[in-house]
Symmetry: C2
Subunit: 386 residues, 2 copies
């Protein structure tokens, strides 16, 4: 196991009927900006629940955060924050709304010219302050409710980039699994795949003698495999919704990454597919991951074999046969949720592979847990998915 440091002070309030508890978590006399997306929270009653709970606060609203939230929209929200002396941000929505809220929180107090600096000069320019924020999660998927990461897309440059800071961790996140009841199939399937691949990015690397982290990761995978289809089949099954929701949070709150290497190359490549073609984030991961497993089968051999055996019961045949079967099982699981795993199924032409290759070439990025995936391997991985 590698050395690590960990501190995760996010307060989780989990369970049915918990949304009204937001009122007790926001400092009295706060000027609150409620940030949300496209209006689903108005249809499922969450908007009314939050408004009702916060009737004793000075409450402002900013709706219209997109899936894959736009830099341009966040900049507008920062102007609302400044114009109204907002001192608390409440994100009501899924991971995109929370990610946007994190950027708005830090960006509104940035003293430089353009807070896009946090993304383009990550680890060099970091936030020095942020407006405190909380979250009401309506869509299990990204884990953003219990971590410090944020991914934002800049439309004008077709870039999708990430930043992170402990200053933008939510003070609290309210997770009411009943929010799952009103989600469309597509969002449930995306959430399951997203959480699944988050685990894989922290698990499917190389062994460092970390049996507890491995078993926690495998526990999340097993639970997603069991509970995801139940949620799809019966949207009002509270227990399955709760197990799905808690699994998605645990998949990316930092815990399973402690002391082990992480990959994240699947995400980095997937982001480009979203940037160029607007494909749902989770679906880009479902496309890229099987290619990653195939092309990096030698570096990842030990963990792919362990994953195949412990998760899918594959323990017969040569190593390569077992790896092939394990990739097939993974693809079959994603497809069973209604998520296709190849580029043509999303109408992505071969030319896009060249554009993405060029982008990584320009950036000089080396991806993956061994920093050995260069632009040529990116091309190989995507070509595998044609």
């Amino acid at each position: 196991m590698k050395n690590f440091e960990y501190k995760n002070p996010v307060k989780i309030i989990f369970g049915k009927g918990t949304i009204p508890k937001v009122a007790g978590e926001i400092p009295e006399n706060s000027r609150v900006l409620m940030i949300y997306g496209g209006g689903s929270i108005k249809r499922n009653g969450v908007y009314d629940q939050v408004k009702n709970a916060l009737k004793n606060f000075e409450l402002f609203e900013f709706g219209g955060i997109e899936a894959n939230p736009h830099y341009e929209t966040c900049i507008k929200a920062m102007e609302v924050v400044k114009a109204n002396n907002i001192d608390f941000l409440l994100s009501v929505g899924g991971g995109s709304v929370i990610d946007a809220t994190k950027f708005i929180a830090a960006g509104a107090l940035y003293e430089g010219e353009d807070p896009w600096d946090f993304f383009t000069q990550r680890f060099v320019i970091e936030p020095k302050a942020a407006i405190p924020l909380g979250a009401v999660l309506t869509l299990p998927a990204t884990g953003s409710e219990m971590n410090w990461n944020s991914v934002v897309s800049r439309v004008s440059t077709q870039e999708k980039l990430a930043f992170g800071s402990p200053l933008v961790m939510p003070q609290f996140s309210v997770l009411d699994p009943e929010c799952v009841f009103s989600l469309p199939d597509r969002q449930v399937a995306n959430g399951v795949v997203d959480a699944f691949v988050h685990v894989m990015e922290q698990y499917l690397t190389y062994p460092v003698n970390s049996p507890l982290q491995d078993r926690f990761a495998e526990g999340i995978l097993h639970t997603l495999i069991e509970e995801g289809p139940k949620v799809l089949a019966n949207r009002n099954d509270y227990d399955s919704a709760a197990n799905f929701m808690w699994s998605a949070t645990m998949a990316l709150n930092g815990l399973i990454a402690l002391g082990v290497p992480s990959d994240w190359a699947t995400h980095m490549i997937g982001h480009e597919l979203t940037a160029f073609h607007g494909i749902d984030h989770a679906r880009t991961l479902a496309i890229v991951l099987p290619g990653m497993m195939n092309i990096k089968r030698h570096n990842k051999k030990d963990k792919i074999l362990q994953y195949g055996e412990r998760i899918w019961g594959i323990n017969q045949g040569t190593d390569d046969e077992r790896i092939d079967k394990t990739i097939d099982k993974t693809v079959a699981f994603f497809k069973s949720l209604g998520v296709p795993c190849t580029l043509p199924e999303y109408d992505v032409p071969a030319e896009t592979i060249q554009k993405i290759k060029e982008r990584f070439k320009t950036r000089g990025s080396k991806l993956g847990e061994n920093a050995d995936i260069d632009y040529n391997q990116v091309e190989e991985i995507l070509t595998d998915r044609l």
Copy 2:
């Protein structure tokens, strides 16, 4: 899954060579009281490492905290705190030292007459303030380094009681697995059993459809079963020491208890064995747990069968046969670590059972996840261990 709330802001600093990092975690100009036990930290070099790291602080010392820390000793430490205007406590030792430090932290600022109130009137009288504290953990076992619990023994009354408060959570805990290298066999075995039974208290109850919590609990049990014996066999095996240490922390930092029922009757009964006979805490758990499983086999049936199958591979025979085998396997594991599991092996006479029965009768306690273990069942459970 039941509703829950969770917030655990303890910063964990984990790994070899991390002890000097304490200096960066304590506020500048603090007047620090370093609290420790019997002197093992002077033999293994931890004392010198901490002293050296804190040479720019005003550093005071209080040694002599006992295993099963004494109320009477903690009261003396509170006087040292007050006399020297101490504003930060650094616990250097195992769970007993951390538990004592938590009590000292809250007791020194208590405005009532006797801070023993926190224990005798738990949930009625709670700390309103505490001196901030941090920990350097030298002995994996209790999980106290990442929770808010404290157990203290009062010698004059032969009582061993618990209190808890978020105010006494450590600001940080430094976990250097190299501290395990110098532990005697007895303390390693105790630590493995202690962590194991902590998991069991939160897992071996009744099912509430919480597959992720179950798998995390099982992951810790598996890891302790694999790694504990390796640590005993080769004290300088860093990876096994690290896996053991991290498992013990995860066993009682609150995570696996979220949304599920907890038992804790084994602990409550075990505490009485320590109070009357001074038996090591972990060893009292090894005595009581098999009796608890046997006498509560009907209430706990579903989870005992799941535990037997997933942890010990027991899936043949009638339910009662499987439960018998599962208890046998659990006892065999404790014995393999050198920890006996019956009362006569600790020279506890049958009369002690009557004394303990009387105590629970006087208190009117109902123990366990169903609050259905009265003093008669306590007698049955202990008689099972004769």
